[in-house]
C-alpha cells in the first residue's frame, strides 16, 4: 500500500487519501457519477452490499473473473480425461466387464465433476486474487466511522496516488458530490 506521496498530515504522517460519507444508496450513486466525471481513477465506493448500476456510475469495465472460470473448467475437464486415459488405458490396463480400456463415455462423469471442481476453484480464488485479498491491513480500517461500511455506511474514498489528488481540491470534489464527514486518511 505504501507509495510515494507528497502530502503529509498535521502529525507528519504520509497521507493515503481522503474519504467521505453519503447518506444512502441513491446519494452515493449520484456522488460516484460526479467523482467519475471529474476524471479520478484511483478511488473506490464502499457499501454494505453491491449497489445495482454502480459499475456504470463508477465507469468500471466488466469483471474479468469469467475468463478464469472458463479456463479452469477446460483445464479440469481435459485434465480429468487425460488422467483417466493415463491411469486406466495406458499405465495400468486391466479388463473390467469386457469394457474397452479407453472410451470417453465411461470417463464422462469424472470429467464433468473435475471440470466443475477446478472451475469453482478458479471462481473463488480468482475472485480473491483479482481483489488482492486477503489483505488484513488497510489504512481505512483505522477510521472507526469506516467500520460502518459493514452496517449502514456508504463511503467514497479517493487515494493520494491518483494524479488529480490534492487535499483541498479532493475535499471540494467530495463535497460537491454530496459527501459529509470528509476526513483525510493517514497511511
Amino acid at each position: 500500500m505504501a507509495t510515494h506521496t507528497e502530502y503529509t498530515s498535521e502529525s507528519g504522517e504520509p497521507i493515503w487519501g481522503i474519504f467521505g460519507e453519503f447518506k444512502d444508496p441513491s446519494a452515493i450513486y449520484h456522488g460516484a457519477e460526479i467523482v467519475r466525471d471529474a476524471g479520478v481513477k484511483k478511488w473506490d465506493v464502499h457499501s454494505p452490499f453491491p449497489i445495482h448500476g454502480m459499475d456504470e456510475a463508477m465507469g468500471l469495465s466488466g469483471p474479468k473473473v469469467g475468463y478464469l472460470v472458463a479456463f479452469g473448467g477446460m483445464l479440469g475437464a481435459s485434465g480429468a480425461m487425460l488422467m483417466q486415459w493415463y491411469m486406466n488405458a495406458y499405465d495400468y490396463k486391466f479388463i473390467v466387464a469386457d469394457k474397452p480400456f479407453f472410451a470417453w463415455e465411461q470417463f464422462l462423469p469424472v470429467t464433468f465433476e473435475l471440470g466443475v471442481l477446478i472451475s469453482a476453484f478458479f471462481a473463488i480464488f480468482g475472485m480473491l486474487a483479482l481483489n488482492k485479498l486477503p489483505m488484513f491491513y488497510h489504512p481505512l480500517f483505522k477510521k472507526e466511522r469506516f467500520l460502518r461500511a459493514s452496517d449502514d455506511g456508504f463511503f467514497i474514498a479517493i487515494e493520494a496516488r491518483d494524479s488529480t489528488f490534492n487535499p483541498e481540491k479532493s475535499r471540494e470534489l467530495l463535497e460537491r458530490a454530496g459527501a459529509f464527514n470528509i476526513e483525510l486518511v493517514e497511511e
Binding site: P25, S26, I28, Y29, H30, E33, D37, D44, H46, S47, P48, F49, P50, I51, G53, M54, D55, E56, G59, L60, P63, K64, V65, G66, V69, G73, M83, Q84, M87, N88, D91, Y92, F94, V96, K99, P109, V110, F112, E113, L114, V116, S119, A120, F121, A123, I124, M127, N131, L133, P134, M135, F136, H138, L140, F141, E144, A149, S150, D151, D152
Partner: protein
C-alpha cells in the same frame, strides 16, 4: 463500457425498479403476515417490519452476539452426546469389522448405504436454493440460502462418513483416490462407485466454497462489530477468556480483510453468479451419479433408466423438507426471524415439496408399469416382492409419507400453518429414508430363492444412524451460534431502500411506478 448519462440511466432503470414497500401491508387471516398475496400482479414484500439497514445488521448479528438462548446449551449437550454415540459405534466397527452390522449375503449393502443416500439427498436443498433459485432470480431465497447451505454441508459430512466406514478396512480408504502407490495400481474409473467419490467430493468442496464465499462479507460485519467489543471478557469456571479479542481475531482472519469495496463487489458478484451457474448442473449430477451405484448394477429393480431423474427429484424433495424441519423451530425461537423468513417463503417451499413429491410418486408408479411392460419376469417379480413381500410395511410407509402426505399442501391452511408443515416435513424425512431402504432391501430376494432371507439391522446400525443425526445437529447448533445465520448483505440488497433509483424524483418522461401495483 462507456459511461452512460446518469439521467438516461436512471430513467431506463426506473421502470424496472422493484419497490416492495409500495404494496400496502395488510395483516389479515387471508394473507397471514401480508405476504401471501394471491394476485400475481402484486409483489409481496420480502422483508417485513419496516426495517432499515441498521436494524437488519442488529437483529442478525444479535443472534450470535447476545447471550445464547436458554435452550441452546442443553440442545448442544444432547446433540454432542448423541454424536459421541456415533463415535463409539464407529470405533467398535473399525476395531471389530463390518460383521457388527446386520449385513449378509446377498444384502451386502444395508443401512450404511441407505443413510448415505438419505443424507446426500438432504444435502441437495442448499445448493438448489443458492444456485438454481439464484439464477432464476427468486429473491425470497435470500433469507434461507445461508441456512440451507449450512445444512447441505453438514448433511454431506454425515453422508460421507458412511461409505468411508463401510469399506471395512478403513485404513485403505485412500485407495479411492488416484494417489500413486507402491503397488503401482490405479483406481478403476469405469466403476460408478468411483464416480461417486468424485461426485460427492466435488459437491462437498463446491458447496463449502460457495457457502464460505457468500459468508465473507457477513463475517466482515461480525468482525467490525467485534472490534468495537474487544474488551469483552467472560469467566468460565476458573478461567478468564478474552472472548472479545478471540472473536475479533477469528472473524478477522475468516473475513480476509473484506472492506466492502465496490471494485471487490463487482468481481464478487460475477464469481457468485458463475459459481451458481456451475453448481446448477452439479446439483443435478450428484444424485444422478449416486443413482448409478444402483442403476448400473444388473440387479432386477435397480437396473432402470428412471433412477437418475427420480433420485434427483427425491433429493430436492427431502432437502426442502429438512430445511423446513430446521427452519420452522428456528423461526419460532429467534426473535425477529419472522420478518425475514416470511409466510410466503415457507409457502413457496411447501409448493416445491408438493411438486417434487408428486414427481417421486409418478416415478414409483412408472417403475411398476415398466416392470410389467418390460415382460421380464425377474423385473416384475422384484417389484411385486418390493410392494407385497416381507418388506411391504416399508413400502407402505414410503408411499404414504412421500406421495400422499405432501398432497395436503394443496390446501391453503396446510401450507400456512407452521406446526402442521413441521409435522408433514418429518413425515417426508421418514418417507425418504424408507425409499432408500426399500431399494436396498430388493437385494434380499435376488435370483436364487435358496439365498433369500430377511435383512434386519443390529443395534450398531441403528445407533450409528442416530449418532449421525447427532453429528448433524451439533454442527448445525454451532453454526447457529457463531456464524451469520442469514445472509446479511443479501437481505439488505432486497430491501426497497437499497435501490439507488428509488429515492430521487423520476426524471420527466420516466414512468412513475411508486405506489402502484405491478
Amino acid at each position: 463500457m462507456s459511461p452512460v448519462d446518469p439521467d438516461a440511466y436512471g430513467a431506463q432503470n426506473l421502470g424496472k425498479a422493484s419497490d416492495p414497500a409500495a404494496v400496502d401491508v395488510v395483516r389479515d387471516p387471508e394473507t397471514i403476515d401480508g405476504t401471501l398475496v394471491d394476485d400475481p400482479s402484486v409483489r409481496a414484500p420480502l422483508v417485513l417490519g419496516g426495517r432499515d439497514f441498521h436494524s437488519v445488521t442488529e437483529t442478525i448479528c444479535g443472534w450470535s452476539e447476545n447471550k445464547a438462548p436458554g435452550w441452546w446449551l442443553p440442545a448442544f449437550m444432547f446433540s454432542a452426546a448423541t454424536a459421541g454415540v456415533a463415535g463409539l459405534m464407529i470405533l467398535y466397527l473399525v476395531t471389530t469389522g463390518v460383521g457388527v452390522w446386520g449385513l449378509n449375503n446377498p444384502v451386502a449393502w444395508g443401512w450404511a448405504i441407505v443413510n448415505f443416500v438419505w443424507w446426500v439427498g438432504i444435502g441437495h436443498a442448499g445448493t438448489l436454493i443458492s444456485a438454481i433459485l439464484c439464477i432464476f432470480k427468486q429473491k425470497w431465497r435470500t433469507s434461507i440460502n445461508r441456512f440451507a447451505e449450512a445444512m447441505t454441508i453438514f448433511a454431506v459430512i454425515c453422508a460421507g462418513t458412511f461409505p468411508g466406514i463401510h469399506v471395512g478396512r478403513i485404513w485403505f480408504a485412500w485407495f479411492l483416490f488416484p494417489i500413486p502407490n507402491s503397488n503401482s495400481i490405479w483406481p478403476n474409473f469405469k466403476s460408478p462407485l468411483l464416480w461417486d467419490v468424485f461426485a460427492v467430493g466435488t459437491y462437498f468442496t463446491v458447496s463449502l466454497l460457495f457457502w464460505y464465499m457468500g459468508m465473507i462479507p457477513d463475517i466482515a460485519t461480525f468482525r467490525d462489530r467485534a472490534i468495537k467489543r474487544m474488551d469483552l471478557r467472560k469467566t468460565i469456571g476458573p478461567f478468564q477468556l478474552a472472548v472479545g479479542k478471540i472473536a475479533a481475531f477469528g472473524y478477522g482472519v475468516a473475513s480476509l480483510g473484506w472492506r466492502f469495496s465496490h471494485r471487490h463487489w463487482q468481481n464478487y458478484e460475477k464469481a457468485y453468479i458463475l459459481l451458481a451457474g456451475i453448481a446448477t448442473p452439479l446439483v443435478l449430477s450428484v444424485h444422478s451419479v449416486v443413482s448409478f451405484d444402483f442403476a448400473v448394477a444388473v440387479v432386477p429393480g435397480w437396473h432402470t433408466t428412471i433412477f437418475p431423474p427420480y433420485f434427483v427429484a427425491g433429493a430436492i424433495f427431502s432437502g426442502f423438507a429438512m430445511v423446513l424441519t430446521l427452519l420452522i423451530p428456528a423461526r419460532a425461537l429467534y426473535p425477529g426471524m419472522k420478518d425475514f423468513v416470511t409466510a410466503r417463503t415457507i409457502e413457496n417451499m411447501c409448493k416445491i415439496i408438493t411438486v417434487t413429491g408428486s414427481m417421486v410418486g409418478f416415478a414409483y408408479i412408472m417403475e411398476f408399469f415398466i416392470a410389467w411392460y418390460s415382460a421380464s419376469s425377474y423385473e416384475s417379480e422384484a417389484f411385486i416382492i418390493r410392494a407385497l413381500g416381507p418388506y411391504w410395511w416399508a413400502y407402505f410407509i414410503m408411499f404414504f409419507c412421500n406421495v400422499l402426505s405432501p398432497q395436503v399442501f394443496w390446501l391453503k391452511w396446510a401450507r400456512s400453518t407452521p406446526w402442521f408443515i413441521f409435522i408433514v416435513t418429518i413425515f417426508v424425512n421418514i418417507g425418504m429414508w424408507f425409499e432408500r431402504f426399500v431399494i436396498v432391501t430388493t437385494l434380499s430376494s435376488d435370483f436364487m430363492p435358496s439365498s433369500w432371507g430377511y435383512y434386519a439391522p443390529t443395534y450398531v446400525d441403528v445407533l450409528t444412524f442416530v449418532g449421525s443425526l447427532g453429528i448433524f445437529m451439533t454442527l448445525f447448533l454451532l453454526f447457529m451460534r457463531f456464524l451469520p445465520m442469514l445472509a446479511i448483505s443479501e437481505v439488505k440488497n432486497v430491501l426497497p431502500q437499497a435501490n439507488p433509483h428509488a429515492a430521487p424524483p423520476p426524471p420527466a418522461g420516466a414512468p412513475a411506478t411508486n405506489g402502484e401495483a405491478r
